[in-house]
Structures are given as C-alpha cells and as structure tokens.
C-alpha cells in the first residue's frame, strides 16, 4: 500500500512538470500584457517600459521560465503582479475557503445522490425512476450562476434568512460560518446531485445485469439484501471514481459560484488573475490545482478496495 502510494506520487511528478510548462507558455501565448493591463489606457511608453522591466517581462520567455522554475524549486512562488502579495500564502488562504465549500457540497451530494440513483435503477422505468431522472436532468441543466442567483433572491431577499455577502471560516466560528456557507454549498450541491445520481444509476443498472445478482435473487435473498450486499458494493466503485474526478475539477471550476456569492476563493482568484494576466498567480494556482487533482485521485484509488473488494490496489 505504502509502496503503491509512493510510486504513484513519483509518477505524478512528470505530470506536474508538464502542467507547469504548458501553463507557462499558454498564458504567454494569450494576447494581453500584464503591464499594459495594470496601467490601462493611460500607459505612456516610458512608464510601460519601466513596469515591464520591473516585472522581468522584458526578458526572453525561456529565460523567464528558467528563473521561475528555479524559484519554485526553492519554494518561492513569487509575488502577485496586481496585489504584490506573496503567491503561496495567497493561494493557500484562498484554497482553504474553496476546499471547505467543495468538500461539504460533494459529501452531502454523494450521501443524497448515490441512494437516489440506486433506487432509480432498482425501479427502472417506473414512475419513480422517470421522476428521479427528470429531476437530475433539470438540476444538471440549470447553470450554477442561475441557481445561485435564484437561491440568493429567495433566501436573502424574499425571506431574509441569510446574510448576503461575507465569509467566516467554519473552523473559526461554526454557527457564523454555517450561515455564510449555506447558499454556495447548496448551489454546488444541487448541481452535483444531478451528476452523481446519473452515474450511480448507470453503474447500478450495469451491475444488476450481471449473473450473480440473478443468482442472489434466485437464492431467495430479500430485495433489500440483494441491493445492499451485492449491488451497492459493486456499483459504488465507478461512482467513487467519478466523485474523485468531480472533486478535483470543482476546485478549478468553482469560480462562478464564488463570483455570485462574493467569496474570496481559489476559483475567483484564478479567473481574476487570468483577466489581469497575473502570471505568477496563474502559474501558482494551476500547479496547486494539478497537485490537488493528483492527490485526490491517489486517495480515491487507495480507498477503492474498501468499496470494491474485487479490486486490489496494486
């Protein structure tokens, strides 16, 4: 197990390297220049040249890359071009905020969606099934920026139950933190329920076609026992993989929700950095997101045997 984990981590190093290289060059291929964006249309040639040389943008791209890579290896992620903050503490602070929302939402979504998907599969083509599938599809087809706005209008404006903006970490003050986090979590949750429910239904259906379920039924086991002991354990594997992918993707894709609820998270940081061409921040965010992605998938793979006894981690 440990050996497997270590070899996986070593195998991830080239992946992270590829991510860093491609980010570095991709963002420099995108037109737009951080110096002129910072100075706006006011830029005159003299101050533009000043700023460019201060930011090190007047050097050739390979030179810039070598400098950046050397700094990263010594633990220096550089400073943000727009806010002058150090990139690593900035990213870690923002990551905590996003991770809190994403983890809670995905956990709750799995708890709700996996059983729902299995019930739909178990009662395939019944009214329950069609209703659950329709709900999942409708949830899937409402973009997060709409869902968030609707929740916000209902709970903040109409009912006045929840505060509009702000953020308190739930690890600092649980009750306060909860108030601020409910709406973003709910928005994300409603969308992920759709995704996970569909996957759970599909993999349960797949499993139920297999011979041993028929055998189990023939043996006269109760339907509940068949579902729990045989179907669930086997159907959860693929769903678990998907939850891993979802978790990894969300950290990069949560920007929309953080924009709607004015939450200082990683997603918004990345989007704002992209618009400002804040190269050090973009590079740092991407490296962080890729690392998390690798780690999450490692954890998922390590835990896979717990859910699916047939599969051995090696």
């Amino acid at each position: 197990m440990l050996k497997f984990a270590i070899s996986r981590i070593i195998a991830a190093i080239p992946t992270l390297f590829i991510v860093s290289v491609s980010v570095f060059f991709l963002i420099r291929l995108i037109p737009g220049d951080p110096a002129s964006l910072m100075l706006g249309d006011l830029a005159d040639a003299a101050s533009l040249a000043d700023l460019r040389s201060r930011l090190g943008l007047d050097q050739s791209i390979p030179v810039q890359f070598t400098i950046w890579l050397g700094n990263i290896l010594s633990g220096d992620f550089g400073r943000s071009i727009t806010s002058q903050q150090e990139v690593l503490p900035l990213i870690l602070g923002r990551l905590r905020v996003s991770a809190e929302i994403v983890l809670i939402a995905v956990l709750l979504a799995s708890v709700i969606a996996v059983p729902a998907g299995m019930i739909a599969a178990w009662r395939q083509n019944s009214l329950t099934d069609v209703a659950l599938v329709s709900i999942a599809t409708v949830l899937l087809s409402i973009p997060a920026f709409w869902m968030g706005l609707l929740l916000l209008l209902l709970f903040v404006l109409k009912l006045g139950w929840l505060p509009l903006v702000g953020y308190v970490s739930i690890s600092q003050d649980f009750m306060q933190g909860l108030l601020y986090i409910i709406l973003p979590v709910a928005t994300l949750l409603l969308h992920e329920i759709g995704v996970i429910m569909r996957m759970a239904r599909a993999s349960t259906l797949e499993v139920m076609q297999l011979d041993y379920i028929t055998h189990a039924r023939a043996k006269g086991l109760s339907e509940a026992a068949v579902m729990w002991r045989h179907a669930f354990k086997n159907a959860f594997g693929p769903t678990w993989t998907l939850i891993g992918i979802v978790l990894g993707n969300l950290l990069g894709g949560i920007a929309v929700i953080e924009t709607v609820f004015a939450i200082p998270g990683l997603g918004r940081l990345l989007v704002e950095a992209i618009f400002a061409r804040d190269y050090p921040v973009i590079q740092g965010c991407l490296l962080m997101i890729a690392t998390i992605y690798v780690l999450v998938n490692l954890v998922v793979d390590l835990l896979y045997p717990v859910f699916d006894p047939k599969v051995n981690a090696q």
């Binding site: 087809s141 599909a202 618009f275």
Partner: protein
C-alpha cells in the same frame, strides 16, 4: 426487437423536436434574429412576438430557433471531436499498455488537471473567438475524460476470454481492437457522449457569464441564458425560454442515450 419503453419514446420525441427546430431555424425564422427594434425593447410574450423580445428589441423566438441550430452544431461537433479522439487514444493505450500508455496518460492527466476556463481562454485567443474556436477548446478539454473512461473499459476487456481467443486465432491487433474491443466500449460511450452534449451547452453558457464565449450577436442558447440574467426582475422570459430549451434537450438526449445503451450493449441483448 422489442417495443420501446415510454422513456425511450419521450427521448426520441424530444430529440426529434430539437432537430426539427434546428432545421427550421436554419432556413426560416419569423423575424430577423439580429434585427434591432428600439421601440419594442423587453416586450413580454404576445401575439406579434410569441416569446417576447430582448433588450435590443430582437425577437426571442427567432433567436431561439437560430440558436438551436448553432447550439446543436457546436455541441455535436465538440462531442464528435472529443469522443473520436478520446476513443482512439483510449483503446490504443489501454490495449498495448507499456511506455506509450504511460507517456500518453501523463499528458492526459496534465490536461485533466487544467481548468477548462484557462484552456478555453487560451485556445479562443489562439484560434479566434468563433464557433470552431469553441469547438476546439471544449473538445480538447473533454477528450481526456473520454480517454480515461475508454482506457478503463479496455483494460478490463483485454483480460476477457473472447479477446484472448481472437488473438489466439491469429487476428491482427487492429482487427481485434475494431471488431471486439470497440463494440464493447459503445455502452459507456453513449452515456458519456449524451452527458457531454449537455456539458457543452452549459459550458458555453458559463463562458459567456464569465465574459468569454461565442461572439454574442450570433445567438446560442447558452449565451441567451447568460445574457438574460441581468433582466431577471424585468423580463424573466429572456432566461426561462432558453433554459427550458436546454432542460428539455438534455432530458431528451439523456433518455435517448439510455435507450441506445440498452440496445447496443451486447450483455443486455437477452
């Protein structure tokens, strides 16, 4: 073989309706979808404009019809691109394993870890912000997911008896992959492709919300949904109608996908 289930019939009907709307939108619309009318801004649904007008006085129904064609075409091409590229890479790497597999998967994982927004912005800037730029950007963003899923399926298939049998019988690798492996990947691929169709419709909408996306004068459902958002209290129909179109299309395509899978999956043909 057997009669279709009610949900399959619903799927066929909804998808058929989408195709008809797209075809109709390509040849005829009640008004010019780009024609401005300053005297009729944000008019509610009525006799002249069945689904109302938008903030420039453009007819919403005409824009929905034109948008059906654009949205369908973008989603269709993106899914085709991602599925065909992903399937080829997934089958080849999953079948041969070895160092090719390891190197390809390294790039694949790197691409998977890349946030879609950044990829889209980069590729749109390089290829130009047009329909095909979006198709390339989203297609490239979705390919690694397809690769992962196909490769997973192939790896479990290649240990199965009938694959072994095909090899023992002296069939070439290409023949085995085409004749025996590919058909067994169709089932997960249909589910994935139909889900992806929906992702594309919405991804395009999220890109519009964040300020990227298709050049907006050409209507797509996604950018209509995003641009209707500021008018939620004055003209809610601007978002409701494209939203409904997207929901119904997704429902139709998902149901159709499930029905297709039941028909195509070899294990389910009893």
């Amino acid at each position: 073989m057997t009669r279709l289930s009610p949900s399959a019939v619903l799927g066929v009907l909804l998808t058929g309706a989408l195709l008809c709307a797209a075809l109709l939108g390509a040849v005829w619309t009640p008004y010019d979808p780009l024609g401005l009318n300053f005297t009729l801004k944000l008019a509610g649904p009525g006799a002249a404009h069945w689904l109302g007008t938008d903030e420039f006085g453009r007819d919403v129904l005409s824009r929905l019809l034109t948008g059906a064609a654009t949205s369908f075409w973008i989603s269709f091409l993106t899914v085709c691109l991602a599925v065909s590229a992903g399937t080829v890479i997934g089958i080849v790497t999953g079948y041969f394993r070895g160092w090719v597999d390891r190197v390809v998967m390294m790039f694949n994982d790197a691409l998977l870890a890349f946030p879609g927004i950044l990829l889209a912005l980069g590729l749109l800037a390089i290829f130009g912000a047009n329909k095909y730029g979006i198709v390339l950007a989203l297609g490239l963003a979705y390919t690694p997911t397809v690769v992962r899923i196909v490769r997973g399926a192939v790896m479990s298939l290649r240990e199965r008896e009938f694959i072994e049998a095909s090899r023992v019988m002296g069939n070439s690798n290409a023949y085995t992959m085409l004749r025996h492996i590919l058909p067994n990947c169709i089932a997960p691929l249909t589910v994935l492709a139909t889900s992806m169709f929906g992702w594309v419709l919405l991804a395009e909408s999220a890109l519009s919300f964040l300020g990227l996306g298709v050049p907006p004068p050409a209507p797509t459902w996604g950018n209509m949904l995003a641009s209707g958002r500021p008018f939620i209290s004055q003209a809610v129909w601007l978002a409701i109608f494209p939203g409904l179109c997207i929901s119904l299309t997704l429902l139709g395509i998902n149901l159709l996908g499930d029905a297709l899978r039941d028909k195509l999956d070899p294990r389910m043909r009893h």
